[in-house]
Amino acid sequence: MTSHLYRFFPQLEHLSIRVPAGSVAEVLRAVDAMAPGFTDYILDEHGGLRRHVRLSINNTLVFDRKTLSDHVPEDGTLFIFQALSGG
């Protein structure tokens, strides 16, 4: 995941996070259980992806930004990116 999130969730740094396969929403909830508040950074209060956040499963961008139903397979990797701008 983007290293910027480690500032807020240092407990995740240097970890290779392994959670059960499932929907993107389920994977993020599993990470939130390890680092409470994590999904508040990724998702808005309706559970949709925040505007400046992108997710991909391996090399494929997550399509369903609203309900996060895309499936992360057993051997898949979920990547978390952010857009950076401003000065």
Partner: protein, 394 residues
């Protein structure tokens, strides 16, 4: 004399402390994160910063050890079913008199936590927060949990109770350009006033709608824009549609309220029942964002005038503060110690404060100026701060 200043800046929270007669900034806190508002709860000393993360959503951060450590509060969220009528940025061919089309609805999400206010001494743990898109949130446990004030959210001036269906009345709340950075054009609550005599007596100010008052702790709200002028609208004296930039009241005389908008400085001495325009254009007192009032004398206020809403900078390159001591009948311009050549500063709505004889403001140019004699003379506290969004003594 106050001994601490809190700045909300584009790059973090800055605490400036007065020690041995000198004001010294500490190292920046929340480094790199925009902070749109920072203030200290005078009841228990807790510091609050409103983090305006561009990417991760707005968050509140609090410190109970004077800034040594901070914790994030993640619970300020709209409840399921909270909706609002979508606003669109007016285009050049926008006709405000054209019949409104069918309203479009949107599930509410917090874009910005614009203001934090504190309850009375008799209400430990009571906090208020104003948001874009126009939510007033209340906490009674020191900020651990927050609840949307539904009577204001469901007010008839916003279309009524949209939790339970479509609009039942006309929406009079419009957007604020301060929301455009978030890709929307929605209203925002930037001012919350708690009457020290009666903590159930509240005012909020909304860009763009105007001022609303509650006399029953937020159960009911009433419009308080009588006497306001909105010169650029077809009906300048319309009940709604005003854009107060900031509203504040004198703690010692809470019926004395002040605001400044695009069309002048306005003063009320009767608890916002009526407002009167008290600008003095020949002294430059007309357009600007922030306004501060003396803690004890409701007739005494300060503004930092700017050239015009279309030219947001100092007037003629000279930065000055204007002060009135007679309810706006006359204004005195105060320039001693402030740059008078090639200054183009603009001061945002929360970036001027007064406490005792001290007055302080910060500009988006990164300049912070302080007066310890009610504005008669000024000293610079620094010229290389990040753009300053808020200044509060505390």
């Amino acid at each position: 004399m106050p001994t601490t200043l809190l700045l909300g800046t584009r790059k973090g929270t800055v605490i400036i402390e007065r020690k041995n007669g000198r004001w010294q900034p500490r190292s920046i806190l929340h480094a790199g994160i925009p902070v749109c508002y920072a203030a200290r709860d005078p009841r228990d000393g807790t510091l609050w910063s409103s983090l305006d993360h561009g990417h991760w959503g707005p968050k509140l951060s609090r410190s109970r050890d004077n800034g040594a450590s901070w914790e994030e509060v993640l619970s300020l969220k709209y409840p399921k079913g909270a909706r609002h009528i979508v606003q669109y940025m007016p285009t050049p061919d926008f006709d405000p008199m054209a019949p409104a089309g069918q309203p479009e609805y949107k599930d509410a999400a917090v874009y910005k936590i614009w203001n934090i206010a504190f309850g009375a001494e008799s209400q430990p743990g009571r906090l208020y927060a104003g948001t874009i898109p126009g939510g007033l949130f209340i906490s009674d446990d020191g900020g651990d949990t927050w609840e949307l004030n539904r009577p204001l959210w469901n007010h008839e001036s916003r279309g009524g109770d949209l939790f339970n269906g479509d609009a039942t009345s006309e929406n009079h709340w419009s957007g604020t350009p301060a929301s455009v950075d978030y890709g929307v054009f929605e209203p925002g609550i930037h001012s919350i006033v708690v009457d020290p005599r009666d903590p159930n007596h509240l005012y909020v100010a909304v860009s763009s709608a105007g001022v609303l008052e509650s006399c029953d702790g937020g159960h009911t709200w009433a419009v308080r824009n009588k006497g306001m002028r909105n010169d650029y609208m077809p009906d300048p004296e319309a009940e709604w549609g005003h854009d107060p930039h900031f509203v504040t009241a004198c703690p010692g005389q809470p019926d004395h309220l002040w605001q400044q908008n695009h069309c002048g400085v306005f003063y009320s001495e009767n608890g916002a029942k009526t407002w009167k325009k008290v600008s003095q254009t020949d002294a430059g007192v007309h357009f600007g964002f922030p306004i501060a009032v003396d803690a004890n004398d409701g007739r005494c206020a300060w503004v930092v005038p700017a050239r015009a809403d279309s030219e947001r900078m100092s007037i003629d390159g000279g930065l000055f503060v204007a002060r009135t001591g007679d309810g706006g009948q006359t204004w005195q311009t105060l320039r001693k110690g402030l740059p008078q050549q090639h200054a183009y500063d603009i001061v945002y709505r929360h970036a001027l404060d007064a406490a005792g004889d001290c007055v302080c403001f910060g500009s988006t140019t990164g300049n912070v100026y302080l007066s310890e004699d009610r504005g008669d003379s000024w000293q610079s506290l620094g010229n290389h701060f990040p753009p300053v969004y808020s200044v509060r003594f505390g």
